[in-house]
Structure formats: structure tokens, C-alpha cells
């Protein structure tokens, strides 16, 4: 059986994907893949997602240069969530978030509100030549 057929794609043909930093184990971001994105990720060794807003393949880093090198591709017990172990390229420390932060998960719940807690490492305006992501 083809490994791509073992993935339980949702009604839209997508699977949720968690990108985790190799080494620190920080969760960098969350995105989606279709079958082609997952196949290309395995083939290229870099993260390729499916942009739901643009409805097409999203080669992470195609505009920002913040490419993710993929070390491992994992799947969960239900075969319906993918986990990537990646190295975030293009800046030190790595910037995965389009806001210029290390991780997209920079807001924390505190006393009834969400509070941004992580520093912006680079101005997003200097990361993107055109529209974000």
C-alpha cells in the first residue's frame, strides 16, 4: 500500500501538520497539506504546505527565504495528523512566523486575555517583498 494512501485525508483532501524545531522541540507553526504537498515534502526534504487561502501549494520560504529543512515526517495513531521535525533556515534564531517571530504560538492566556510574549526578531516588512506568506 502506498504510504500516501494510508493518510486519512479530510473532506477537503487535507491533513493538519505541526512543524516542530529539531533540537529545541519548539512548536513553530501549524499548517495543512494535501497529497501533493506531502509527497513533495518527502521528495525535496523541505516543507511544502497547501495554502487554504490561496488554494495552492505553498513552498515554505518561497518569498521570505525562511525555508524549513525536514528531518523527520511523523504521523499520529489515527493517521490523520502529520508532525514534521525541521530546521528553520534563513535567520538565526529561526523565524517561522510571518510576524517575524520564532514561533507562531507567541500569545499566551493570562488572566482572561491573550498576551503576546515573544519578541519580533525581524521586521516583517523587510522579510517579504510582496504579500505575507
Amino acid at each position: 500500500m502506498n504510504w500516501l494512501d494510508e493518510v486519512k485525508w479530510d473532506a477537503n483532501g487535507l491533513v493538519p501538520v505541526i512543524a516542530q524545531e529539531q533540537g529545541s522541540n519548539d512548536v513553530l507553526m501549524f499548517a495543512w497539506m494535501d497529497r501533493e504537498a506531502l509527497a513533495r515534502t518527502a521528495e525535496l526534504g523541505r516543507a511544502v504546505y497547501f495554502s487554504r487561502s490561496r488554494q495552492k501549494l505553498w513552498f515554505k520560504g518561497e518569498e521570505s527565504g525562511h525555508v524549513q529543512t525536514v528531518h523527520e515526517i511523523r504521523i499520529d495513531c489515527d493517521n490523520d495528523v502529520v508532525l514534521l521535525k525541521v530546521t528553520q533556515q534563513g535567520h538565526e534564531p529561526g523565524i517561522a512566523c510571518h510576524t517575524g517571530r520564532h514561533s507562531c504560538f507567541f500569545s499566551k492566556y493570562q488572566n482572561g486575555q491573550w498576551v503576546a510574549t515573544e519578541p519580533v526578531l525581524k521586521d516583517p516588512a523587510s522579510i517579504y517583498t510582496s504579500s505575507p506568506r
Copy 2:
């Protein structure tokens, strides 16, 4: 504005949730929450999910005893994915997966196939008195 109103709930009123182990930073599992599940999680300091298969609140550990103590609740830059930092209770090392493994992400892509790589820490038959999860 109520912090729960800032979450971008999907068409089904749900948000994807990543549970990450405090300390090791291991990604333990992925699940979903509705508004009530997130409110209860913050209130109780333990993970409460929404079971899509059973269409009701799922107090993680209600059958297995493998409760997750919640240290942090984070949200991503788009306000549509939640990340929990948890301690997995009930066994040492923690068992988050219904298969008796530490993490649900125990299968790794290798040479065109998914290979289970993590040990079963406890027989699932001895974890659950009735049906899994």
C-alpha cells in the same frame, strides 16, 4: 473583548489543539476543542477536549486516569490553533496515546512507508475499563 471570542472557531465551532509536554517539549497529541472545552480547560487547569466521534466534551483521562495538567495555553498568530503545555499524569513516563505510548506521533516515514518507532509503555487493555478514549 472576551478571550474566547478572539478565537477563530471553524465552521463546526472547533479549534485544533496541540498538546506539548512541559519540559521535554515532546508533542504528545493533537485534538479539538469547542468553546466550552477551552473555557473548562482554563478554569480547571486540566485538558478538556471535544470528541468529534462522540460529539461531546472529553475530559482527557476520564477513563484512563491519564489526566493532563495544563501549565500554559497559547494561541497562534491567526488565532485559530491552540497549543497547550501540559504534564501528562498517571504513569511515568507519561502516556498520552490510547495505544499505550508516550506520544501519538510514534510512526515515522522511512523509505516509502510508515514505521512505528516508539515502545508501548502499558497494554491498552489494562488502561481502559471500557472503550478506548
